[in-house]
Each structure stands twice: as C-alpha cells, then as structure tokens.
Amino acid sequence: MRESVFYYIKKNKLAYLSLYILFVLYFLAIFADFISPYPYDLQHRDSPYHPPTQIHFFDEKGNFHLRPFVYKYELVDPIFKEYKINTDIKYPIYFFTEGEKHYLLGLIPTNIHLFGVKEGKIFLLGADNLGRDIFSRLLYGARVSLSIGIVGVLLSFSIGALIGGISGYFGGKVDNILMRLSEVIMSFPGFYLMLALRAIFPITLSSVQVYFLIVVILSFIGWAGLARVIRGMVLSIREQEFVLAAKSYGASSLRIITRHILPNTFSYLLIAATLSIPGYILGESALSLLGLGIQEPYASWGNMLSAARSISAIASYPWILSPGIAIFIIILAFNLLGDALRDALDPKLRKNL
C-alpha cells in the first residue's frame, strides 16, 4: 500500500510539490533560531515599522557586487515611520555570521546564524511596531502554527477513533450515549464554542499553558465528527471474520478495537488527518489573532497578524500581513496533499475527480 501512495503522490505534481513545501517549512521551523537573523523578541526601538530591505547585487551605478548587500534605511519621519534609502552606505550580507546567542535544537549553544549583516540591519520582510524582524518572528511563529496542527490532530484523532471504535464495536446503549454526546458537541457553532471554552480560563496564561489549552479546546470540538465516521466504518468491520477469530482466541475488547479494527480505518484516518490539520492551524491563528491565544512576546502567525487589526497599520505597512501568506501556503499545501492522498487511498472517491 505504501508504494502505491507514493506512486500516486509522485504522479500528482501539485501534491509532490506540496510535500516538498511542507518539508521545507518544517525544516525552517525546527532550525528557526539558526536561520533567522535575529531572536524573536529582539527589539530595534530605533526602527519601528522598518520596510523590507531589498537585497541588491547591483549598486546604484550598476556595478555588480559578488557579495549581496542592503542599503541603509534612514528614519526621516518618526511619526509616520517613513524611511528613506541612503544609497551611500551599503551593508554586505555574510553567511554564517555571528549574532545573538541561541541554542541549536535546544541543545547546542552557538551564536552563528545562517546569514546576517555585521553592521546595520537586515529585515527581509520588514519590522513590526517594536522594530522586531518579521522574518525571524515568522520562523519562530511557524513552530507554534506548524506543530499545533499535528499535536491537535494526534490528540483529537486518538480520542475520536477510540470513541468511534468503542461505539461501533459495542453498539447498543454505549453507542447510543456516545453518539448523542457527539451530536451535542457538533450542535454548537465551532467558533462560539471555542470562545466559550476559552472564557472558562483566565485571559492571562503563560504561553505554554495557552498552547496546550488551545490544543485541548480544539480537540474537544474536533473529535465528535471523526468519531461518527469511524463508528460507521467499525459497524461493518466488526462483522468480518478476523474479528471473530480474534474473539475466539480470547482477545479483550479493547485489544480487538485498537489492534484489529482501527488499523482497518487507517487510510481514512490518514486522509482525514491531513485535511483536518488546516482547521487546527486556523483555530490557533484565530484565537491568537483575537488576543486569546499565544501572548506576546512569543510569536505565532495569529498574534503577528493581530497588528493588522488597525486599519491605518495595514494601509501604511502592508508587510505586517506576511504571516497571512504563510498561513495560506501551508493550508494550500495540506489541502493539495490531502486531496492526493484521498485519490490514492480511496478508489471509491477517485472516479470523478
């Protein structure tokens, strides 16, 4: 089965590309502190809303430089944060340059960054209101946004698959109660339920607490739909002979469900998981965007976008919207991949698409 999945994904160019993009993004997130030129919380108070610095190979006279460089940006209007490019001063970009100290993979202390300038500043995607580098924050924020999808899906799918399995396998009263429960959860509008559950807890929590709180809230909302589908599948799987065989040698019910029945739903779970990850990423972004999620100074794509809630900021400094583009790319990649997986694993759905 595994070969055929890769075969289909390879054949589907877009899905293959998405897989690459996801791989690169996760790589960037893991090595964020090495790749980003600045730490996520380093403030350059003298350059708020610094525009993105263009990387040049040719200077203003048209001379080619082998080493790329950026020009100096001078703050000419401190009130409206207007900058002027000073073409007289160039800052060459060095690779493997020394910068702020960080711990690579959380273990190895080092102060080497992938790239940077020795003097002056480099803001690939501009800076925010406190002069923090948006590119660096984007990389650090990717850690939150990219991991929350996976952690959330793992949690809610474990719950959903287990409850669906129990419900379908035992049937009767257990089934009835569990399914009514899932209906209740599904009857609430997701966004409101998310807000209401968030309201139970204090607004100010540490970022780690909020991270897990978001995972728990999203999983609490997310398991119900999955459990219903899995239950439907289990209803037919439990009638098959290998289940009878497992019963006859005395396997416990839990063992039959987790070892014999649920593995048969694996291909569906994989498709559904890939297509559900965007929901978790969006949920986190939405909460953080509204100030109920990951708190400053920690970066997440959602709380970076909350700067854009001021209309005047969007108008004058549109580069603060770049986390939105990152969210778009990651969601597109997961959707394309999920679609390709569905085509590969589920021939019944393949016919028309």
Partner: protein, 328 residues
C-alpha cells in the same frame, strides 16, 4: 408528513437537554459566579441581589439550578449581562439583525454564483474553463477568510471603493429611504464578498462533482436518446437529481447564519454577534457568552431540521424511507 416532523421534534429533545447541560457546565466551571460581579457594583441593592439569587436559584443544589436555568433558557430568558446591565436576550436581539443581514447577503451571493459555475465546470469537464474554476476554488478554499478580510481592507483603504468598518455611515439617519438601502448595501459589500468567496470555493467543488456524477447516470443517457434539448437535460434531469447534498448543505447554511461570519465580523468591525461574543469573552461576561452559544446551537438544530424536512419533501426515496417508515 406531520408525524415525521413530530418524530424529528421529539428526537431533538435529548439534544437540547445535552446542549443546555453542557452550556450550564461551562458556566459552572468558570471562576466566580453570576452574582460575584454584581456584588461589586454599589448601584445594585441588596434586595435586587436576593431577588436575583432566588430567580436563578443560586442557593440551591446544582441540578436544581440547572433545571431552573433550562426552563428559563427554553423561554429565551438567558440571564443578565454583567457588562451591559440588561438581559442577555435584549443585547442579542440588537445584534442579530446585522449578522443575519450580512450572512444572508453572502449566502445568496455564494449560492447564486456557485450553482451556475459548478454546472458549467461539470458540463465541460477538463476544459480550460473547468480548470480555471477548479484552480479558483482550490485557491480560495485555502485562503483563510480572516486573511482575505485583511487583504480587502487593504484594498479598501488604498482605493476607497469600500468602507472600512461598521454597518452604516455616520450620517445614516439623515439619508432618504433609498439612500439608507444603498448605504447598507455599500457597507455590507466588503464582508459579504469575503464570506461569499470563501464558501463559494467549497460549493463550486461540490456542485461540480455531484453534477458530474449525475450527468453520467443512465437516465441522462436516456434523456439524450429521447432527443431532449441539452438545456432541459442539464437543468431538469441532471440538476434535479443532484440536488440532495445541497439541501443538506442548505441546512448547514441556515445553521451557520449566526456564527459563520463571526471572525470576519470582528475583523471588519461589523456590529454583529461575532463582535458581541468576543467582547463578552474578553470581559468574562459569562451569561452573554452562554446565551450566544445557546442560540447558535438552537439555530444549528433548526437548520438541520429544515434540511431534513425539505429533503423529505423533495426526494420521494427519502420520503418513503423516513416518513412512511414512521407510519408503519
């Protein structure tokens, strides 16, 4: 048919009990109770506090409290807002109109465009038009609607075509009736567009795939063999048989009328339910939060009920299975 509706209504009872119970538990779990905040307010007298305590039964055991709350909630008496100092239902009533206006406009836009576009894509599969429609739907399915809202706000600020917030202009009261209508439509255009594009993208995909399936069916072949006009085949035979999933979706649409637009509302400053819920959460105004949650859930159940009834009315197969099954 009447019996069928009755059966569905009876089935709803445990659901409503479950929803209200969960809502109630969420209130109970939150720190502090309803009166704690009122006690801080010197304007509220001791007698009022006592009266409120009795109305909501706060001195009684939790289950009794729950049933009191349930009976009140069924009468849409959802308690008293801490921050607005008026009954929750009053505040919700004020905001519901704006939200419904926005979501109905966007739903009409989305459905009005999705059905023809999906049919075009299905009738001519794998042509350039089809590829383009698919590309469009895939792209916009993946753009988070809050991000699209930000982008549109950026366009609005730069060009001035759209207003950048609110439901009406400051001089709304002075406008003539036509002016008022135009002003409202002008203000709703941006959020409605954002919401419509998002749901349009998903809908087009669904219309296309169900239409494709329906067009391959044998009755379509038969209709072709009879020499019917292509237009009649598509609209009267293929489309009619492809309708079922849309009826179910229409139910979801009704269900999400109140809550679907919440995040976009907040971003474009639309004075609707979304903003209200966010404010309520930020100020820990629990009864307001629960009120919104409860009404949203009731809408969802009603939406599903309407969809089921419509489905039974339109599709004789469903009618036979469900309605006559009840009578036997």
């Amino acid at each position: 048919m009447f019996l069928y509706i009755l059966k569905r209504l009876i089935q709803m009872v445990p659901l409503v009990i479950g929803i209200t119970f969960l809502s109630f538990i969420i209130i109970q779990m939150a720190p502090g109770d309803y009166l704690d905040k009122l006690k801080m307010n010197p304007q509220i007298s001791q007698e009022t506090l006592e009266r409120l305590k009795q109305t909501y039964g706060l001195d009684q055991p939790i289950l009794v409290q729950y049933f009191k709350w349930l009976i009140n909630a069924l009468k849409f008496d959802l308690g008293y807002s801490f921050s607005y100092h008026v009954p929750v239902i009053e505040i919700i009533k004020e905001r519901v109109g704006n939200t419904l206006f926005l979501s109905i406009t966007s739903a009409v836009l989305a459905w009005g465009l999705a059905v023809p576009l999906g049919i075009i894509a299905a009738v001519k599969p794998n042509t350039i038009i089809d590829k383009f429609i698919q590309l469009f739907s895939f792209t916009f399915m993946s753009i988070p609607n809050f991000f699209l809202a930000f982008l549109m706000l950026f366009v609005a600020v730069k060009t001035g075509i759209f207003p950048t917030g609110g439901a009406t202009s400051p001089d709304y009261e002075q406008l003539s009736l036509l002016g008022k209508i135009a002003d409202r439509l002008w203000h709703v255009s941006l959020p409605a567009f954002v919401l419509a594009v998002g749901s349009l993208a998903g809908l087009v995909r669904l219309v296309r795939s169900t239409m494709l399936e329906s067009l391959q069916a044998e009755y379509v072949l038969f209709a072709r063999a009879k020499g019917l006009k292509e237009k009649d085949i598509i609209l009267r035979h293929a489309l009619k048989n492809a309708l079922n999933p849309f009826i179910t979706l229409l139910g979801f649409e009704i269900a999400s009328l109140l809550s679907g637009a919440a995040l976009v509302e907040i971003i474009v400053n639309w004075p609707g339910m979304g903003m209200l819920m966010l404010d309520a959460v930020l100020s820990q105004d629990l009864y307001l939060v629960m009120g919104g949650l409860y009404i949203g859930a009731i809408m969802l159940i009603i939406g599903n009920l309407i969809a089921d009834i419509l489905l039974a009315k339109i599709d004789p197969r469903v009618r036979q299975r469900e309605v006559e099954g009840v009578l036997k």
